[in-house]
Point group: C2
Chain length 204, copies 2
DNA sequence: CTGTTTTCTTATCTTTTGTTAACGTTTTGT
DNA sequence: ACAAAACGTTAACAAAAGATAAGAAAACAG
């Protein structure tokens, strides 16, 4: 029984080792800080206005990030299986966040708290490796954002949509169009027009 | 004489300790990897198409980031004194970058090479702290980018410009408007119109 | 100092996007 | 199964932005 409990995160070890590979001993320590969390559809992983205390590693499901402006929800990002999800800036700065994370489907994730991270950074055996883990995570995110900023500066909404189709054709199948419109920085009506424009490419 | 040479980066120690504070011994090791670099106006710190091998810590001056699209330079970011500047994704991934960094004024920076970073990460005495240094740098950048992406998704060009005025009124004084227009994701002509709109706020 | 380049603005026209509302369809909750 | 809510498209109009060109002012180089 003890073995089973000790291994309850074992199935996801490889996923969590995306940035850093642990020895068995290190893994035992690391996984003792992990927790499971399940989100029902429409359930919020993390609400705006509070300090984000956990990062999540998505095992399955689909998450959207949104901010509220003038009473409207504006979707600015998505999380898929294997992604790290959190209101990262709030998590790091310990300031209330403005982003809400909401499950669009039944979602399963493994969570790691801020306090746990700090413990791990200071851990005599694991600290060095955890710092690296955190570094690679931050670097990875910065790279993703760098691309995303460039897409806004160098591409038209239509180009951004076409690129999204190329990259994530299957991925975005399950996501409502108006969320994707927000993600592209345009209105749902505008996206609908772009789609029409693309579908009938020629004809005089 | 030896003392002078050993201390040539001493004046900037505090700036470089923005993320992590070093002991004197650690600082001696760290600074041995640093180099000075001076850029004349219009000189490129790092050209697109090559792998970025250095990050720079700006002591003074002004740098713009740009990418070339359809033969036009599109400015997507700026670096100011005390900023870390680099084609970060290229630096990290060791792939050719698409961003060029160009000095807009006489610029002085302290550089740290990729090879040096890797050495430092592995350094028996400094590795732990350097990993933290790299982590905090990546995290900081990710936070900056998070804000920037949100500004594109939630704000109109006019709102973005107004916010830029609030934050960096003095900072952007020296930057040509058409670079700022690019930065905001619009054309120079459009920015000129926005400025006009803002200047004459009322009058029927 | 002088001629050239760069920068910013303005005007005109075209294209795109935002806004609002309507409509049919699909999904959802009960 | 049924009513309600959510979703995607379309239309009509207004607002904003892109493209291009022209001109004035400022910065720059020799």
């Amino acid at each position: 029984m003890g073995t089973l409990i000790d291994n309850k995160f074992g199935l996801y070890r490889q996923q969590l080792e995306a940035f850093v590979v642990f020895t068995d001993e290190e893994w035992q320590i690391f996984q003792s800080y992990l927790r499971f969390k399940n989100l029902r559809k429409k359930e919020h992983f993390f609400p705006a206005g509070k300090v984000c205390n956990d990062i999540g590693f998505m095992v399955s499901g689909l998450v959207r990030y949104f901010v509220v402006k003038d009473g409207n929800e504006i979707t600015n990002y998505f999380g898929f299986a294997n992604d790290m999800v959190s209101s990262y800036k709030s998590f790091l700065t310990r300031q209330p966040g403005i982003v809400t994370l909401e499950a669009l489907e039944e979602t399963e994730l493994i969570t790691l708290s801020y306090a746990a991270m700090q413990d791990l950074y200071k851990h005599p055996k694991l600290g060095y490796k955890m710092e690296r883990f955190g570094r690679l995570m931050g670097e990875y995110l910065a790279c993703c954002y760098e691309d995303r900023v460039l897409s806004f500066v160098t591409q038209s909404p239509e180009e951004r949509y076409l690129q999204l189709l190329q990259y994530g054709k299957n991925i975005i199948q399950n996501i409502p169009q108006h969320y994707i419109a927000n993600f592209l920085g345009i209105t749902p009506v505008s996206l609908s027009r772009i789609r029409k424009r693309i579908m009938e490419p020629v004809v005089k």
